[in-house]
């Protein structure tokens, strides 16, 4: 369809809107340049800058340390993927358990509530020590002693508690009328949960879930406290060898690079949700 013929007044309005859009873009560009320039000057003009650059932004050291840090990062990524899958499963299970009605489920509900209270409350680093050093200390047969496995376990325990609460908020946010409609069709509690409530709940909490995922991406670096050679530990080793902090900066930038796609994905899902379910209009 070609552009339909429009009146002079509509052409005027369109021209005005285009001019406004150009103006906004120009303002955004100028303010960004001014701000970035000011920040750059403030840092590079500071008296200690040459020394800081030598210690933190040394390109030579960065190049030397990169292969080893990348190798460590690969471990982080594997831990991240395994942990995230387990976290989603455990978190959802705990959340659903907490919504179960009926006296027979009281102990299960209490257990789930206790779980979230305990593992959301305990600092991750302390849990890492307890599991990473305490569990092998028991010298039980068949219990893994790999620091990577134990570190991942601690990660899953803590994050599942957070994610369970996110899921529960999502489940609670589905209007009771939806449950009423589902049950009135004759669906059982489980069926209405699976077919009606959870799909809406999960969609609604996708953005906060991705937020937790980004947090997990950097927290996987904490397994280094148990001695696993991940990106952070690799950076530490490189740093000790070169007497330079640049490897830490390299590792930090790599974590940021890892987080950016997830953050954009979170924005994108939220926007898509908004478009799909809300009526259009100028608000």
């Amino acid at each position: 369809m070609s552009q339909p013929a429009v009146s002079a007044i509509e052409r005027d309005r369109q021209a005005y809107r285009r001019a406004q859009a150009r103006r906004s873009t120009a303002i955004a560009a100028i303010s960004t340049v001014v701000f970035a320039g000011a920040l750059f000057l403030a840092v590079t003009r500071s008296p200690g800058w040459p020394r800081v650059r030598q210690q933190f932004f040394n390109l030579e050291v960065a190049g030397d340390s990169l292969p080893r840090i990348l190798e460590g990062l690969w471990l982080n990524i594997r831990v991240l993927v395994v942990a995230e899958v387990l976290i989603l499963i455990v978190g959802l299970a705990v959340a659903v358990t907490r919504t179960l009605r009926g006296p027979i489920f009281v102990p299960l509900r209490a257990l789930a509530a206790g779980y979230t209270d305990l593992f959301r409350g305990i600092p991750l680093i302390i849990l890492l020590y307890l599991i990473g050093f305490g569990v092998p200390g028991l010298r039980l047969q068949g219990v893994p002693t790999s620091v990577v496995v134990l570190g991942t376990t601690a990660m899953v325990l803590t994050y599942s508690a957070y994610v369970a609460e996110v899921f529960r908020a999502g489940i609670d946010s589905v209007h009771p009328s939806q449950r009423a409609a589902a049950r009135s069709l004759g669906l059982t509690y489980r069926q209405s949960m699976r077919l009606v409530v959870l799909p809406q709940a999960v969609r609604r909490v996708a953005p906060p879930l991705l937020n937790d995922f980004v947090a997990l991406q950097k927290d996987v670096g904490l397994i280094s406290v148990l001695g696993a050679v991940d990106a952070v530990r690799a950076a530490q080793i490189e740093s000790a060898e070169s007497f330079n902090f640049t490897p830490y900066v390299v590792a930090g930038l790599l974590f940021v690079a890892l987080a950016i796609p997830t953050a954009r994905a979170a924005d994108w899902t939220a926007a898509r949700l908004e478009r799909r379910e809300r009526a259009a209009g100028v608000l």
């Binding site: 429009v6 007044i9 509509e10 259009a280 100028v282």
Partner: protein
Amino acid sequence: MSSPVPVLSCQQVVKRFGELEVLRGVNLEVAEHEVVVLIGASGSGKSTLLRCINLLETVDDGVIVLDGQDITDPRVNRDLVRRRIGVVFQAYNLFPHRTVLDNVTMAPRFVHRMTRPAAEQAAMTLLARIGLADKAREFPDRLSGGQQQRAAIARALAYHPRLLLLDEVTSALDPELVGEVLALIRDLKSQGMTIVMATHEMTFARQVADRVLFLHDGTVLESGPPEQVLEHPVEPRTRQFLARFIEGGRL
């Protein structure tokens, strides 16, 4: 004393959603104290027209003039335009996390900068007039549909708009509750409120409307006093549309 300038004037209004042309050159003039009723099948563009007037949608062509001001000009501040228009939606759209009183006083307090006591006093007078004084402290979900819709009308009236837009305000109500809402609208008319309403209540339209517009496929196919449009329609399309209501015993 009707002013020579109409309160609202739509001239050749066009609105498209993608390829679909929902309004294809709608003209409408509403004088002060006039009640104009829009009728037409679902999808004929009644709601879209009301949303365009309140600037919830941006028109693709044509002009909408409110009190002599072209409100479709992109230089116009939408919020200032909306302060002069009250809107009531089909599904009430009350804020469920606020009491009825808070719903009604929100615009006076936060948009029109009234003090809380003054706004609440005015709101209580308004609520008493429409028989909801005892529900002022209740939350919307605890009220019946009719009560909720009357509260929504009170919310739209609280800042004394120049023009009231009613978008099928009785369509979500059961017949028993329709009466109380229509009685309230009749009251508003007798007080001289300028109203544009979309409705399927033909009997009510005949009693209250100063003018009835039949919308079909995004154009005003027929318009005139209710006796003419509803009882002696000229256009075959209008007759066809009204026949369904006569069969249903609703006219």
